[in-house]
């Protein structure tokens, strides 16, 4: 066993670092560092740059446009991206539906959907949750009824992130009301420009717009947009949730945020000295850093077993739980570091073209925005309560 990187891996890191230094637009890096939501065009721009290099979907199999990197290389890549404050790409195409399509989709579906996901040309959204079906996802009611060559979809999705950006939605629909609820669910790809779809914004507590309600009123979806078999949607959805959980751990980003926290706390004054000299504050930063190490080692172990050919199992719930808790701890400390300047909060600050002096230190408001929006990380992607249920049942057999 060994924790050091090989020479090849070091060289790889250098290559990635040089690419980022040359190609990552600094305005995007500053926005990411500042902690505010990016515009669609920001994300698309970075996606195009990565795609031009062939790096937009490192985890995909090479035949579909992946990089063929080892898990360790992917880990290094993520770490370098976070370190350079590269924007997070939209996960719905690249990390979620893409793998479902190349794993369960038809050849036509692969040819049609995968290339524009890679290039960042099409944006996707995830239509799972409904007003009455959050944690109990299998109870979902959005109906798809077969009519000739189409499904006719009626229902109501909620919390759909980036639905207002999306060209396509991957959607769980009920095609059968008999039997166990899981059995009647199918996985449909829906064109967001179809007649009968209405997208309504939901503003979250940080004042931003990233989630939506989506209403379906007799929306016609061609049968060829069904993934795999009718009634098998639950299986595909679960496959995908495993992917989402490893993603949510966000080790590299948390590492970078802790470095940022130390810099900020170093600049903040308390009794004329740096806040980092305050023992209680410093100890809590240290605690966060130790949690991060535990998370990182745990995810590296899980990566290693993935390398050995095992897909993400219920252990990914550990990563989701601890990763989201850690994000919240860090953003809480970031907010705490700025003292009274946690208060000022003007949404215009986050708009392109805003060029007034910040109120207080320039990092203060972004920290609050992250802190507020970050409350969602223990709720989405299967809430932390549900993750604990998964571990209790699937791993511990309780």
């Amino acid at each position: 066993m060994d924790l050091t990187f090989t020479e090849d891996e070091q060289a790889f890191r250098e290559t990635v670092r040089r690419f980022l230094a040359d190609e990552l637009p600094q305005d995007l890096a500053r926005k990411t560092e500042g902690g505010w939501h990016l515009e669609k065009e920001d994300v698309a721009r970075w996606n195009r740059i990565l795609h031009a290099k062939g790096w937009s979907a490192p985890a995909w199999p090479e035949e579909y446009g992946g990089t063929g990197w080892s898990p360790v290389q992917r880990y290094i890549f993520n770490e370098e991206c976070a370190d350079a404050w590269a924007p997070i790409l939209s996960p719905f195409g690249l990390s979620m539906v893409g793998p479902v399509i190349y794993t369960f989709g038809s050849d036509e579906q692969k040819a049609k959907y995968l290339p524009p996901i890679l290039s960042g040309e099409t944006f996707w959204c995830q239509g799972y949750s409904e007003p009455g079906s959050g944690s109990d996802l299998a109870s979902l009611k959005t109906r798809a009824v077969r009519d000739g060559g189409d499904y006719v979809v009626n229902g109501h999705k909620i919390w759909t992130t980036q639905a207002h950006w999306a060209d396509m939605m991957f959607c769980l629909v009920r095609t059968d009301t008999e039997g166990k609820p899981q059995q009647g669910i199918s996985f449909l790809l829906i064109d967001m420009t179809s007649p009968g779809i209405q997208v309504k914004p939901i503003i979250t507590i940080d004042g931003s717009h990233s989630v939506n309600e989506v209403f379906f009123d007799d929306v016609r979806v061609p049968v060829e947009n069904l993934i795999g078999q009718e009634g098998m949607g639950w299986t595909y959805a679960k496959f995908l949730l495993g992917h989402e959980r490893t993603l949510i751990a966000g080790v590299s980003v948390s590492k970078k945020r802790i470095a940022q926290l130390k810099r900020i706390a170093g600049a903040e004054r308390q009794n004329g000295a740096s806040l980092l000299e305050d023992t209680s504050f410093r100890n809590r930063v240290a605690e966060a850093e130790i949690s991060l190490q535990a998370l990182e080692m745990t995810s590296l172990r899980s990566l290693a077993s993935e390398n050995a050919g095992k897909g993400p199992g219920p252990e990914s719930s550990i990563l989701k739980i601890r990763g989201s808790e850690l994000q919240q701890t860090i953003s809480g400390l970031l907010v705490e570091a700025v003292g009274y300047y946690a208060g000022p909060y003007e949404l215009e600050r986050f708009e392109d073209g805003w060029n007034e002096e910040p109120i207080g230190p320039d990092y203060a408001q972004g920290s609050m925005a992250m802190h507020l929006y970050g409350r969602a990380s223990t709720i989405y992607g299967g809430s932390n309560e549900i993750q604990r249920n998964v571990i209790a049942k699937m791993i511990l057999g309780l």
Partner: protein, 375 residues
């Protein structure tokens, strides 16, 4: 020992709570918070009419002779409504300072006008790099002729935009962070050389960066002893802290009740989510946290008139409890509401944000824990 309200206090509580219930629902509050002033001047006039602006001032000064318990009653109810009117800066902080330490002339000039609702005030005590240290002052006041010339930058002054007068802490002597050499001045909101940058805060209030550039005041603007005002400031901040502890208790009560109700009504897996034991225990911890917070807010309220050492210790203890409880109740309320808790539309997020800011206000949990331990 007596935990009962007097009949006047009961009436006060009924009237404030009724106002919150009937006239300060969440939609109304949202509109007010988004308006130009960030609050309603009509409400302010109503507060005056109902006597709430005067309850804590002595009858001699033109008030109604109440005390900390009366302030607690008002603030707790205001916490339930997330009231944005500048009661804390005007009545509790600035009004309290003037009533306790003002000259007869200052009291006669200011208190009746506060009570009548004609004068709003703010207290500019914090500075950009001072964090929670009340003596960490770079703002200076230099004796000049019969009066003083004040220059400096005061940070995050709540209620400054609507304040006719702002009480400013400044150094007349000593070094940064010395206990001696701190003085207080009552400065007109529109004084020459005073400028403001006003902004909204995350909890729906209004605050300002206040810059003083050679602002001239007369000797009659000095509040309390020249060079010896730090104890007065500490006392004022303690009164303010006790008041926001009560406000936090009100806010926690709303979150507690809303979450309790949600657990009973929200259905998942064919049953109310309150049937899941893990959520029951979480709710129980919210309940316990609320009860502890209420106990400690009351304890500090009943000790805030005591000698400084007792007062400060009690206040720090209460603030630590409120910080911890407020954080737990706020965060868990969001969590147990799932996606709904993340929406701007539901009231839960706004209460969570106010509790988050109350934790910072007048010194955060770390600060008060250190202060308590060092005493």
């Amino acid at each position: 020992m007596d935990f009962n309200f007097t009949s006047e206090q009961q009436l006060l509580q009924e009237s404030v709570e009724r106002f919150i219930q009937d006239e300060y629902d969440f939609d109304t509050r949202r509109k007010l918070a988004g308006s130009d002033d960030g609050f309603s001047r009509d409400n302010w006039a109503k507060f005056a009419e109902l006597g709430w602006l005067g309850v804590s001032f002595s009858e001699d000064d033109g008030g109604f002779g109440g005390g900390p318990v009366d302030t607690m009653i008002v603030m707790e109810a205001f916490g339930k409504g997330l009231v944005t009117e500048p009661y804390l800066p005007t009545v509790v902080l600035a009004g309290g300072l003037v009533s306790r330490h003002g000259s007869d002339a200052q009291k006669a000039d200011i208190i009746p006008r506060i009570v009548e609702g004609e004068l709003m005030m703010a207290f500019a005590f914090a500075e950009p790099h001072g964090r929670f240290n009340l003596a960490d002052l770079h703002t200076t006041a230099t004796a000049d002729g019969g009066g003083y010339v004040i220059s400096g930058h005061k940070a995050v002054v709540y209620g400054a935009a609507c304040a006719g007068k702002i009480i400013v802490s400044a150094r007349t002597g000593g070094d940064v962070r010395d206990s001696d050499g701190v003085s207080l001045f009552i400065v007109d909101g529109d004084a020459d050389g005073l400028s403001r940058r006003d902004y909204r805060t995350v909890d729906g209030l209004r605050a300002s960066e206040v810059t003083l550039d050679n602002v001239r005041v007369g000797a009659d603007a000095v509040l309390g002893p020249v060079g010896g005002a730090l104890p007065l400031i500490e006392e004022a901040i303690d009164y303010g802290t006790v008041a926001v502890c009560a406000e936090a208790v009100g806010a926690m009560k709303v979150l507690h009740d809303a979450t309790h109700e949600y657990l009973k009504t929200r259905q998942q897996f064919g049953q109310p989510i309150g049937k899941f034991q893990v959520l029951q225990h979480r709710m129980v911890d919210m309940f316990i946290n609320y009860e502890e917070a209420k106990s400690m807010a009351l304890m500090a309220t009943l000790r805030v008139d005591d000698e400084p050492a007792v007062r400060a210790q009690a206040v720090s203890a209460a603030k630590v409890q409120i910080g911890k409880s407020g954080r737990f109740v706020g965060q868990e309320s969001v969590q147990l509401h799932g996606g709904m808790g993340m929406t701007d539309e539901l009231n839960v997020g706004s209460y969570f944000k106010r509790l988050t800011m109350i934790e910072v206000l007048f010194g955060n949990t770390d600060y008060h824990l250190n202060k308590y331990a060092a005493a």
